[in-house]
Amino acid sequence: MSDRGIQRSSRARAIAVGVGVAVIAAAGFTAGRASGPDRGAEAVARAPSAARRAPPSLSAIELGATVRVAARDAVRDALAERAAGSEGATGPEVAAGSEGAAAARADEEARDEAEGGPEERSAERAAAARKGQAVVDAALRAARWTREDAAALRTAVAAMSRGQRDDLLRRLVPAINRGEVTPAFVGPIF
């Protein structure tokens, strides 16, 4: 073989080796991007759900898009978990309270319905409150609480709303306990 032939052959071998090295390097880079611990992959590892389901080999653009989706999903999952947690901490009481209030409202409405509708019921309550008020006012003036007063108040209280009843009892009972009004009989004061 001539010198020129030898030179040509060496150049061809060098090119072949170079191409081979380049191919191996490219393959290694691609594999490394797909499975290595680069920042994108760490983000995926931290992110739940969608990112963990990402295919093992992605281009940089695809990987970036996946990370964005994963981050969005992670935020959404975290918010959902926090909401679920806070619901677990206070949910039963709130739910029970709401159910209790709803049940009380339903009872009230059913009672109104059975007793002639809300307007009539409201008028009846107002009349009972006025009657009770008059009995208590008279007792406070007389400084004396009689058995008849007790009977009248008992009847009135039965028809009053809770708020009306509380307002009335908060005037009468403390006056009795302070000694400003004296019961004239033995027994419950209403």
Binding site: V157, R165, R170, N177, G179
Partner: protein, 136 residues
Amino acid sequence: MRAVRKHIVALAVVAAVGGAGAVAHAGLKSSRPTTVSKSGASGWADGILGSARNGGGAYEYLACGLQSYSTGDLFGFCYANDAAGQFAYCYTDAPTMIEAIQSVSGDSAVYFEWNGNGECTMFSMGNGSMDPPKLP
């Protein structure tokens, strides 16, 4: 005749010894007057139902009870009057307190407190062997 007399004496001795034994083995018996203590519109009351009835003065009494209405409202209440004629009353619609008031029996000891609105803020009851039963 002498034999009969001996027999009677023997019976009397047995009865006396038996009686003394019964006294020696009786448990503690206690009694206390109904007390009403006020500070303005609030205060507390304490007493034993049996004591109030048996040994109290003419004014002394103590009671607890419940009132139920067709509206569904349920109240518990207690009231007391001490020997000096001081009267106190409290009411509650708190379910746990109502439950406790329900457990008062005829010979219970009772203690309760009330606030400036006349609402029961504390209720306590107990039944003890030392507490006297109500006599007719």
